[in-house]
Symmetry: C2
Subunit: 218 residues, 2 copies
DNA sequence: GTCTATATTGGGATAGAC
DNA sequence: GTCTATCCCAATATAGAC
């Protein structure tokens, strides 16, 4: 689909090419309202292009959504995989916290500011729309991280590992989706990721059967 | 709004009254597809009633959604508050795990099987729709639990308490939303809540500043 | 209280001009 | 490659018959 790196001049306020403008507008609206509540008309309007152009370039609303998701996911997944590669290269057995960080930090370093919130939206869409995209974009990296967690926590059953990863992803998605609707006043994304890293790491490394063991601290 | 407990005969397959049938159908479809992707037409069709009846009884799609949410939330919030009351009555200082359980267990004991998934859906909707409903149904109980956590973990700053509660809610919502899209094979809800309780408790009680302290277990 | 019919709006998609 | 105009359908909501 994506042509081999179009010229993409980046002068500050230059007019980007039409597909990019459509993608930008679509990303913003999909993040804001979700898939079903966003119309292609509204996207075209915000992008300053004609409705017909959107269908010409992307074919359908669903395909446009897929393109937006892919553009957001790709760099984050790449960073995650690179971070995990680096970890495995420097140590045969990285700590749980290091693996968690490799998974979460790319979110706060993402170039597209709206990317994390789009991820959160994606998980909220009906499975008919989200499932294939999640599998395609997220699946491979998910398996790699699951293996890494398993090696770091050999005393946990594979099922338990997957559940805990599932919980961590849930906390992540919810945190990205809402800058704190019920929670604290909005803080920097970096701060939130730091706190989440500590929370998720603690959840991962807690003993499986006797969760009352470390009840009281200090 | 709700009339004073209508007769509601409950013979196994008896025809429930029209508003109830509409609510049932709406709950099922909202859970399945989300708010925006669900039409009042589809709801009326599935309920076996006419389109006009839905608008007569509930006024608008948004009001119908609100009614569905309230019907699902009310019993769970009641159970949560009762569980917290019981805890505070029997001990001046319940443990973190007990508070987490008081918050989570009502989800697996909910009468309406679809209620938890509706909660998850609600959090995924655009804030213009979800925010008022979340505040109204969820807010008061949220404050009570936040206070309880704060008393159980006096060494944590209030901001940190709210973040950790936020993470726990995220893990909960994500778990309820998906019976494991990426995660393990679908297990009983009770089992999932048990595992989540252990995970969230560990996240809550981890020391704030030195998260590497308890890195390796066993 | 429930249904029929309809008003009105907005959506996705396409054909064809430029 | 982009825009205009339009088709067709589905949506919310309402007015009025029964």
């Amino acid at each position: 689909m994506t042509p081999p790196a179009p010229p993409q001049r980046r002068s500050a306020e230059s007019v980007r090419d039409t597909p990019t403008r459509i993608l930008d507008a679509a990303e913003l609206l999909f993040v804001d309202r979700g898939y079903a509540a966003t119309s292609v008309r509204a996207i075209a309007e915000r992008a300053g292009v004609n409705l017909g152009a959107a269908h010409y370039h992307f074919g359908s609303k669903q395909a446009l959504f897929g393109a937006v998701v892919e553009r957001c996911f790709a760099p984050i997944q790449e960073q995650r995989n690179r971070a995990l590669d680096a970890l495995l290269a420097q140590s045969s057995q990285p700590s749980v916290r290091e693996i968690v960080e490799a998974f979460l930090v790319p979110l706060s370093a993402s170039p597209a500011a709206e990317a994390p919130r789009l991820i959160a939206r994606l998980f909220g869409e009906p499975t008919s729309i989200s499932q294939p995209l999640i599998e395609a974009q997220f699946g491979p990296s998910f398996e790699r991280f699951t293996e890494a967690f398993q090696r770091a926590l050999p005393e946990l059953e594979p099922t338990e590992i997957r559940w805990r990863f599932h919980f961590a992803i849930g906390a992540m998605v919810h945190t990205l989706a809402t800058a704190g609707p019920i929670s604290a006043p909005s803080v920097s994304r970096h701060d939130a990721i730091d706190r989440l890293t500590a929370f998720a790491t603690a959840g991962f490394i807690t003993p499986p059967d006797t969760p009352r063991a470390q009840e009281k601290i200090t």
